[in-house]
């Protein structure tokens, strides 16, 4: 569904720097691909020569899931057959949104999770639709699931689900300068919307109805950035 109201300010991250902007900037994801130094204090030899793909074939396909079998030969000559989930969820980019009301409070949604068969807290998320940019898709999901739009959307990080078994990756976006705005989505029932304070994070991650690792990472990462000494300096600019 198209955005009907509100101006979206999308941060453009370049290689050389980040736009001048008030408040904390979330720029981890933009630096990811340029971070190559290894910081291990102590290392053994790393097996960095990638195995050769001997064959790959689809072994199952359903409406949402596709399973691939892959024959690999490792650099030491050992051959193994792997199965992995590919193209989970139709192949569109997946995005998760962390909506910040201010530097202390964030919004979570509560919805029925068919996988774990209970109501779970999470962050708004979904698939970017054809013709949408990543941040436009993030803003639409935010409006559909939480009833907020955001004037500022910034990429925080990219997370994998289970890198050994799944190709799936999810982009995590921080949304700020929120305004009330609800779009009708494809949810079967209205989602619960809850506001928490970052001070509640240690209790929150203990709750039986909050178990999703990717949403937890988004919260820990944003909290650390907001509370880092560097962040404090930036926020006073």
């Amino acid at each position: 569904m198209q955005v009907q109201q509100g101006t979206v300010h999308i941060e453009q991250h370049g290689i050389d720097g980040f736009p001048v902007n008030h408040g904390i900037r979330f720029c981890i994801a933009a630096t990811r691909q340029y971070t190559t130094a290894h910081h291990g204090v102590q290392s053994q030899e790393s097996p960095l020569s990638k195995p050769k793909v001997l064959h790959s074939r689809e072994v199952a396909r359903t409406r949402l899931f596709r399973v691939e079998e892959m024959g690999l030969r490792f650099s030491n000559g050992v051959e193994r057959t792997y199965e992995r989930l590919v193209g989970f969820n139709t192949g569109h980019a997946a995005v998760m949104v962390l909506p910040l009301l201010d530097d202390q409070r964030f919004v979570m949604i509560e919805e029925y999770a068919a996988g774990t068969e209970d109501y779970q807290l999470s962050l708004p998320k979904g698939l970017v639709e054809p013709g949408e940019s990543l941040l436009e898709g993030a803003n639409r999901e935010l409006m559909e699931e939480a009833g907020y739009g955001a004037h500022k959307l910034e990429l925080l990080t990219e997370l994998s689900l289970s890198p050994n078994y799944m190709s799936h990756r999810m982009q995590v976006v921080v949304a700020r300068d929120l305004y009330e705005m609800r779009l009708e989505g494809d949810e079967p029932e209205p989602l619960g919307v809850h506001v928490f304070h970052f001070d509640q994070l240690p209790e929150l991650v203990q709750r039986p109805d909050f178990t999703e690792a990717r949403a937890m990472v988004a919260l820990y990462m944003a909290r650390d950035l907001l509370r880092s000494p560097q962040g404090d300096v930036q926020s006073t600019i």
Copy 2:
């Protein structure tokens, strides 16, 4: 493979309390199911009446994956058909291990990830084998993948993968009082073993070869517990 050396001290967590022990205790998981209070600062009505399962059937099964289709009727009468991944990885309990060398340093492994097709940093993990307890399985995986055994193993938390689409859950165990001990596992090549300091966590989560959300949560959660004021008090007992 059986443990050949070293004494495993397994913490028994009860409902009423935790064993007296030196150092920080990781006891989040044990309190999870008893935490029911909601801490939302602001809440809308929560949709807590679970949908009714109208039907469910298996739509695909491979060596590792099983996909189920489920018809649901929500409390407002809306009906939807869902697909979810169930019994991922043969249904054995999955366990991830965070090995601590001390209160500052932890061990990570580096292995080829067939899902993302690159070498990735992660924590030792695997499936608990028949006849093993969760913590025994955690110790065996630690020996096979990282070359350490642990005298102390404690449950940290339980994480889900993608609760909307997958039933999969993983237990996260903290391993301490480590000793060198390698068991032969089923890895096709030796894994890289790296030691990091919790001060490196902000850089670590930016690395393109560390993307797994569940391992990140384990690190953030343990670091917060080790550095919490309460932790400082406990560690001086």
